[in-house]
């Protein structure tokens, strides 16, 4: 660790990440990777699977922090461990190779990770639908919406990029696209919900 980078306590991590401090996030990522990687490797996973699971776990943590809805009742380390453990269990179950026993080297505490994961799953589903809807909407709507919402470009920039005569034209186009996206998105969304 170290290498001249500031070291954070758990509270400092949370506040820094909430603020959008990427250095803190990088530091956190680096800090707990070995633990999760070790756990996954111990339980018949590969290096790449370990990285995938860890990134997913950090994502859950990060989104909760950014949301401001994280209620940490334990160390970040424990929370991440619990989340990644659940995620890996799920992967194993999907692979159909889960033997029922897990090589734990830390006691699994009640961390609230279960509830957070259920929430994250719901969010994942919504994002997947959104991705699908964006795939189906077609050009130039897709580029326009992605440019505005996903890549955080300003309307002026987009106007120039897409060759609209003025920003109002671009805006109108954007709203039309939003309406179409809404139809696509909600039709899937409702469809899924009616299951």
């Amino acid at each position: 660790m170290g290498k001249g980078q500031p070291s954070y306590t758990d509270e400092e991590f949370v506040t820094a990440i909430r603020r959008g401090d990427d250095r803190a996030l990088a530091q956190l990522y680096r800090l707990h990777l070995p633990m999760v990687s070790h756990f996954v490797l111990q339980n018949s996973g590969t290096e790449d699977e370990a990285k995938d699971v860890y990134q997913e776990g950090v994502m859950v943590f990060y989104e909760k922090v950014r949301d401001g809805s994280l209620e940490l009742s334990c160390q970040i380390k424990t929370y991440l461990y619990a989340v990644c453990r659940r995620l890996w269990l799920k992967r194993l179950a999907e692979k159909g190779r889960f033997g029922g026993r897990l090589d734990d080297h830390e006691p699994f505490l009640e961390t609230g990770a279960e509830a957070d994961l259920a929430e994250a799953e719901e969010r994942d589903r919504r994002f997947a639908l959104m991705g699908e809807a964006l795939e189906q909407i077609g050009e130039p709507c897709r580029s326009l919406l992605e440019g505005f919402y996903l890549l955080d470009r300003s309307m002026q920039q987009l106007t120039a990029d897409f060759g609209y005569t003025n920003a109002d034209n671009a805006k109108n186009q954007k709203y039309k696209c939003l309406v179409r996206l809404k139809k696509l998105f909600f039709s899937h969304y409702k469809e899924e919900e009616s299951y």
């Binding site: 018949s44 590969t46 994502m59 990060y62």
Partner: protein, 382 residues
């Protein structure tokens, strides 16, 4: 008339705080009053927030990937530093080995279980086969037990080192309570009897029972373990002696093919069996014995072996289980030598061997009728 897109423009402006006071109040009032309008606004809001957070998610994912890439690059850099230093011990792991290691770490548990299942299967199969063989071939199993019996006798009679399956069956009759029984016959008219040694082996007391159910107490006078012979004497005070013995003892050897027969008590009644003299040596080439082709059973031990002319030529001793109807009998010449040596020591009660043969020339049923009173059951109590 406003299109949906116009509404979205309105909502967007509202969210960005671009609406002026009157318009804003108008919109808020309408949101509160019109549920379908409020629904439309909610949908818009959900759509945009989902879009925004989706974008954020993608950005974060890229960030994390970048972190990981940086870490990987760092690790790579570290390894190049390591390998770059010639003084550092370098561990070379070939791609093949790395793959093997990965495979091992991933499938360790499965392989361990598979291996233990295989080991279990081997042992279960072996045990199962053993059990099956034991239960299937009980005769084979009995054969080995009998062999063990043979071993035991071999140990007991180590002087001659021969191993034959002795015939000493226990009588099924529970009333007489004797542990073993065999057959015996008269040696002299005044109360000497002959039987096999193994019949009386380990006996506490002996009871001799004749065909007419008369009981006499007897005691061993002499035993010859090597030739499986025992001489008994009746000790009852009121015993007056037998009548004259009808048979005589042959001192020489008999010839192969001689018709021979025996009387004995393999069960409560006297049983006759006949056959031929099939070899002039016994089990494992023992020359003190004949091999005879008479079907004998436990209880026949100690019975007299006679030839066609009524000469006593042997004492039935045992049989070999794994050979068809191969029984063995001690040669009478050895019995005679034994009696001679005992007689020469001038005992209190002399051995008056029968000299004449009353059986010669008579038919076999007649021979047996004369003979049957001189053949006894020897009951052994331990």
């Amino acid at each position: 008339m406003m299109t949906e897109a116009d509404y979205y423009a309105l909502f967007d402006a509202y969210q960005n705080g671009e609406l002026a006071g009157a318009e804003r109040a108008n919109l808020e009032r309408r949101l509160a009053a019109d549920p379908s309008f409020a629904q439309r606004y909610d949908d818009f809001e959900e759509l945009t927030t989902t879009l925004t957070s989706y974008g954020e998610r993608l950005a974060t994912r890229n960030k994390l990937k970048a972190f990981q890439a940086a870490l990987d690059a760092e690790a790579d850099a570290e390894t190049t530093v390591e390998t770059g230093n010639p003084n550092m011990p370098v561990m070379h792991i070939s791609p093949m080995e790395r793959k093997l290691r990965e495979f091992w770490s991933a499938h360790r548990a499965t392989m361990a279980i598979a291996a233990s299942v295989a080991v279990m299967a081997v042992f279960v199969t072996l045990l199962g086969l053993e059990w099956w063989r034991a239960s299937q071939s009980s005769s084979l199993y009995g054969y080995t037990v009998l062999r063990r019996e043979v071993e035991r006798i071999k140990r007991n009679q180590r002087a001659m080192g021969r191993a034959i399956n002795q015939i000493d069956g226990s009588k099924p009759e529970a009333a007489n309570q004797s542990k073993f029984s065999g057959t015996g016959f008269a040696l002299t008219a005044d109360g000497y009897l002959i039987t096999s040694y193994h019949v009386i082996q380990g006996a506490d007391s002996l009871l001799v029972e004749s065909r007419d159910r008369q009981h006499y107490h007897a005691e061993p006078v002499f035993t010859d373990v090597a030739h499986d012979l025992a001489i008994l004497r009746i000790r009852d005070k009121d015993f007056a002696g037998f009548r004259r013995l009808p048979y005589s003892f042959k001192r020489g050897q008999s010839d192969l093919g001689e018709k021979v027969y025996t009387l004995g008590y393999p069960r409560e009644d006297l049983v006759f069996n006949d056959g031929s003299l099939s070899a002039r040596s016994g089990f494992e080439g023992d020359t003190a014995f004949y091999q005879i082709s008479i079907p004998v059973n436990p209880g026949n031990s100690g019975g007299p072996l006679l030839d066609d002319r009524g000469n006593l030529i042997g004492v039935v001793s045992g049989r070999q289980m794994d050979v068809q109807s191969a029984a063995f009998a001690t040669k009478s010449s050895y019995l005679m030598k034994l009696v001679d040596s005992l007689a020469s020591a001038s005992p209190k009660e002399p051995y008056n061997l029968p000299r004449t043969n009353l059986l010669a020339g008579t038919s076999r049923p007649q021979q047996i009728r004369k003979l049957q009173d001189y053949v006894f059951v020897v009951k052994v109590y331990e």
